[in-house]
Each structure stands twice: as structure tokens, then as C-alpha cells.
């Protein structure tokens, strides 16, 4: 018997627990010639703000061993631009659509959330409380328990969509942040965002990125992310979406054993656009090999 891969996460039905991560897969059309979107569990689109936003100056990305540092700065076409330009395309696909949202103030976050309540085809909102690239924005929220609580509660009050705060990795006690999100109405959690990081060109003695620093993603951060997921899973009951350096089914399965109900592929889309599909297949064959009936048997199955 073929193991079942489908899950319902925070009320969102997905064919399988494999998603593509915000900022690494555009808004859908970009990779569609290479990756059949209908095969994915969900797409999390690049972070959307109330108004269009230009992001940082270039250079915005630099490769480092085992990863990359990005400081895109959340460039996006705004709620209206995104909805008009990309939602028709996404609605035409059989895929759960999770919109990643951000704001510079709590009001902006809540307003964005409220607007997406009216948009057909949006299945959930991932709240980026943790982007390391916008100075005004997310970072301060995501590393402070009080503002995390306030932000999540405020967004909760303005939308009926499932909300999924995306946690910052650079905190000492991820469990506390997970708990405060759960207590304030989060339906699920995404963890983690990229790590504040920096590269310097030693010849010019200038930061490589125009924004000085950015966020580290890729295989380099995977073992740290696994630990954070493991800790968060101990603190909360709501489902976790894990991401950070997934390049193979093995990495994804590690996350699920540690406590994640679903996973998202980020940087690896750039390296190998077919990674998400390979992860789906790899999970399926792992389940078959281990005689597990459903992918849910993997979740939190760690043996201590």
C-alpha cells in the first residue's frame, strides 16, 4: 500500500507536507516552467506589504560556504499589485497558497492581513516577524516576546485565515516565542527565517552587501534549525513548518522527526529547482521502506 502524504495543517489541506519557502520561489510563475506547481504541498509567496516596496540596493546576495547571505530587503508589489498580477495564476493551480506578509508597524501588518481576508484563493498567512533585512521592520518584533505577542494577537483579530508566525532564529529561548505565538492565536508556526550574517570584502574592506548585513540561509544553518524545531516542538501543540537548509528528503525527514508537520524548501530551489519534488518522492519512499502508513507517523517521532 502506498503511504499517504496528504496533511491538513492549520486547516489548510495539502497534497503533501512539502512547500516552497517565501522569497525563494517568487510568486509562482517564475519556476513554473521547471516545477509543476500542482505537485507541491503549498507555495509560500515572497513577503507582501501594504504598499509596493523597493527593497535594498544591490549587491543583495553573496554566496558563502554552504549557504548565501541575502539582503533583498523585501521588495514586493504590495497587496494590490500582488493580488492583481499573481493571484489569477495561482488560483489556476491546485496548490495551497500561503501569503507571507510583513509591515513596518503593527497597523500595517493587520491591514495587510485584513485585506487578504477578502482575496479568494489565499489559504493562509505566514507572518514574517523576523526578517533580518528591513531595519524599520520585522526584526525587532521577532526577538521580543511582548511585541511578538502583540503583533500575533493583533493580526489574529483581523483575519479568519490561518495565521502562521515565522520565527526569528536568533533568540535564546525559541520555546518561549513559540508559546507566546500559540497563546495569542497562531494556528501554526514557521521556523526558521535566515540568520543575521555578514560578509566583508577584505580587499576593499567594505561589506559585500549594500545593506551591510543580511540573512544566512542554506545547508550551513540546517543543524541549528533542527535544534530550534526540536525545542519549539516541546513548547507547543500547534503544528510546525520547518525550514532551513533543506537540500534532500533526508533533511526534511530530520525536521519532521524533530517535530515538524511540514517543511519548506528555500535556498535549494536556486541550487536545484527540482529539490522540492525530490523531497516529496524521497519522503514517500522512506515511508514505504519504513512501513509507515502516513507521513503523519513521522511527525515528532524522535526516539530519545
Amino acid at each position: 500500500m502506498k503511504p499517504t502524504l496528504d496533511i491538513t495543517l492549520a486547516g489548510i489541506r495539502m497534497k503533501n507536507p512539502v512547500m516552497v519557502a517565501s522569497g525563494t520561489f517568487g510568486y509562482g510563475p517564475e519556476y513554473a516552467e521547471l516545477v509543476d506547481l500542482n505537485k507541491l504541498g503549498a507555495i509560500v509567496v515572497k513577503g507582501i506589504s501594504l504598499e509596493p516596496w523597493g527593497g535594498n540596493r544591490t549587491p543583495r546576495m553573496v554566496e558563502v560556504p554552504g549557504g548565501l547571505i541575502n539582503a533583498i530587503g523585501l521588495q514586493n508589489p504590495g497587496v494590490k499589485g500582488f493580488t492583481e498580477k499573481y493571484m489569477p495564476f495561482l488560483r489556476n493551480h491546485d496548490i495551497a497558497v500561503i501569503v507571507n506578509i510583513w509591515g513596518k508597524t503593527i497597523e500595517e501588518y493587520t491591514e495587510v492581513a485584513a485585506r487578504f481576508d477578502q482575496v479568494e484563493g489565499v489559504h493562509g498567512l505566514e507572518i514574517n516577524i523576523s526578517c533580518p533585512n528591513v531595519k524599520a521592520g520585522g526584526s525587532s518584533f521577532g526577538t521580543n516576546l511582548d511585541s511578538t505577542a502583540k503583533l500575533v494577537a493583533a493580526v489574529r483579530a483581523r483575519t479568519r485565515l490561518p495565521i502562521i508566525p515565522k520565527l526569528a532564529p536568533n533568540v535564546s529561548d525559541i520555546g518561549a516565542f513559540a508559546k507566546v505565538c500559540e497563546d495569542n492565536g497562531a494556528d501554526a508556526l514557521s521556523l526558521i527565517n535566515s540568520f543575521p550574517a555578514m560578509a566583508i570584502d577584505i580587499e576593499t574592506r567594505k561589506p559585500v552587501l549594500a545593506n551591510v548585513s543580511g540573512g544566512l540561509s542554506g545547508p550551513a544553518i540546517h543543524p541549528i534549525a533542527v535544534k530550534l524545531v526540536f525545542e519549539a516542538a516541546k513548547a507547543v501543540k500547534i503544528p510546525l513548518i520547518a525550514l532551513g537548509g533543506i537540500t534532500s528528503a533526508k533533511d526534511a525527514i530530520e525536521f519532521m522527526i524533530a517535530g515538524a508537520s511540514a517543511v519548506a524548501v528555500g535556498t535549494a530551489n536556486f541550487t536545484e529547482p527540482l529539490t522540492s519534488l525530490e523531497v516529496i518522492d524521497g519522503i514517500a519512499s522512506y515511508l514505504a521502506r519504513h512501513k509507515m502508513k502516513s507521513v503523519q507517523d513521522l511527525v515528532r517521532s524522535i526516539r530519545l
Binding site: 517564475e30 549587491p59 546576495m61 554566496e63 536556486f270 541550487t271
Partner: protein, 261 residues
């Protein structure tokens, strides 16, 4: 756009600093147009998460070639690629050059270093002939001159150290030619090389009210328009906006580009 596992058909040096890699890519190669590029995964560079972009230098039947210079750790480890090794390619990517030169115009290609690669592909696919201006640091950076001559093109060379052609920037012979040889013809420019060169060509085109198609070189993440790493400020329908060099480019008309540095 395809993703395809190619195999290496040939991998030969072109002078001391450059190499030509010929790949068998039966699905992808036939789709290639001049000015487009491919995104190459260097599998033996385990710790690299990004592919490397290279202009398409030739596409004939099921073979696709790139011409590359070794500049960093990716291109350095590409040197170890041997015949029959597999290479994963995403492409063809980007918009490519417009191929329809107006009948009244003379195509003028301006190349810096490996920038000559896509221009050679363009010259081969263009119906008209014209003139190539090629510049580089030294004689060894001046590539494909004979190939252009064989296609019936005029070639003018400049090197920084004067070891081949005139000494100085490629704009020197270009300016001379524009002054003396135009004779009423309208040039249409196609340029690929460093930013300074592109800007110089663009400035001349704008001043002369000619068109200049510039191939921009930006560090890239995804190569397909998803990550927004490669943006360039442009003017579109009078509006300032950020274009993705990988997807909306790499070819832009000079008037559309807003240079910031």
C-alpha cells in the same frame, strides 16, 4: 526554459585564461537565442548553493557552448570537468538580443573580454554584417577575431596595454569610426562587457539618437526572476522601476537603464 542534464562533448582552452565548454543538451540547445544565458550547476563544488550564469556562445543542433574565463572558485573548479562528465543546466534564460536590425542600420558590436561570446552567437544569427569593436586588458583577452572576419565582419581591437590593436579603451576606435566611417548609415549597437563600457556605448547611442542593446552582468541567485537579487533600476514607460536582469534582461536598451554608480 528547461532543466537538463548535459554531458560534456569537449572542453578546450582558448588561450591561457579562457575555455570553451561544449555540452550535449538535446532539449535545451535548440531553444537558445543570442543574448540568452544558461545557469550551470558546478556539482563538484559541494558547498556552493548558487549556479553560475554564462552567456550562450554557440548553439548548433543538440550542442550548446559557453566560453568562460576563470575568475573565482566556481570557474576554477569547472576546469576539472572532463569529457562525458554530466553537467546540470537550466536555460535558456533571459530575453536575448532583438535579431531584427532595421534595414537601414549597421550593426555595431562592442565587446569586452568574454562579452564577445554572446555577440558572436548574435553575429551568426544576424542577417546583416557589421563591425565588431573588441577591447580587453591584454592580447590574450581578445578572442574570436578570426571567427568574426570569417563571417565577413570588420573587426577593430583595443587593449589596455597596447599588446594588440590600439592602446586604450575600446571607445577610442569606436569614436574614430563613428566620426569617419558612418557616412550617413545609422549604427545599431549591441554591447556586452563591463559596466563602464556599456554605459559609454549607451551614452553615444543616446547622443546620436541610435539604439544600443546592452547586456548587463549582475550577480544572480535564481536566474529565473524569483529571488530579486539581480535587479537594475530601469525606466519603463516613463516610470522608474526595478527590472530583474535575469528575467527582464539581461539585454536592455540604453535609454531604459538608470545607472547609479
Amino acid at each position: 526554459m528547461r532543466i537538463e542534464n548535459g554531458t560534456i562533448v569537449s572542453h578546450e582552452p582558448m588561450g591561457p585564461d579562457y575555455r570553451v565548454l561544449i555540452l550535449k543538451l538535446p532539449e535545451l540547445a535548440p531553444l537558445a537565442r543570442p543574448g540568452q544565458f544558461v545557469h550551470l550547476r558546478i556539482a563538484q563544488l559541494h558547498d556552493a548553493v548558487l549556479r553560475r550564469p554564462f552567456s550562450i556562445y554557440k548553439a548548433e543542433g543538440s550542442h550548446l557552448s559557453i566560453l568562460y574565463k576563470t575568475v573565482g572558485r566556481g570557474t576554477a573548479s569547472m576546469q576539472d570537468l572532463r569529457i562525458d562528465d554530466p553537467v546540470n543546466i537550466v536555460g535558456p534564460l533571459g530575453n536575448g538580443f532583438p535579431l531584427d536590425v532595421p534595414d537601414t542600420a549597421t550593426p555595431v558590436l562592442v565587446a569586452g573580454g568574454y562579452g564577445v561570446a554572446p555577440l558572436y552567437f548574435l553575429a551568426k544569427r544576424m542577417k546583416r554584417r557589421g563591425v565588431l569593436f573588441i577591447g580587453g586588458a591584454k592580447a590574450i583577452d581578445i578572442l574570436l577575431v578570426d571567427d568574426f572576419l570569417e563571417l565577413g565582419w570588420e573587426v577593430q581591437v583595443a587593449t589596455d596595454d597596447g599588446s594588440l590593436g590600439v592602446k586604450g579603451l575600446v571607445t577610442a576606435p569606436l569614436d574614430a569610426w563613428l566620426q569617419t566611417s558612418l557616412k550617413g548609415a545609422r549604427p545599431e549597437f549591441y554591447a556586452c562587457g563591463p559596466n563602464g563600457m556599456l554605459k559609454a556605448v549607451g551614452d553615444r547611442a543616446i547622443k546620436g539618437d541610435w539604439k544600443a542593446w546592452l547586456s548587463l552582468d549582475r550577480h544572480m541567485g535564481c536566474g529565473v526572476g524569483a529571488c530579486l537579487a539581480c535587479v537594475q533600476k530601469v525606466r519603463l514607460n516613463g516610470q522608474e522601476t526595478l527590472a530583474r536582469v535575469c528575467k527582464d534582461g539581461p539585454i536592455f536598451e540604453a535609454r531604459d537603464v538608470i545607472w547609479e554608480d
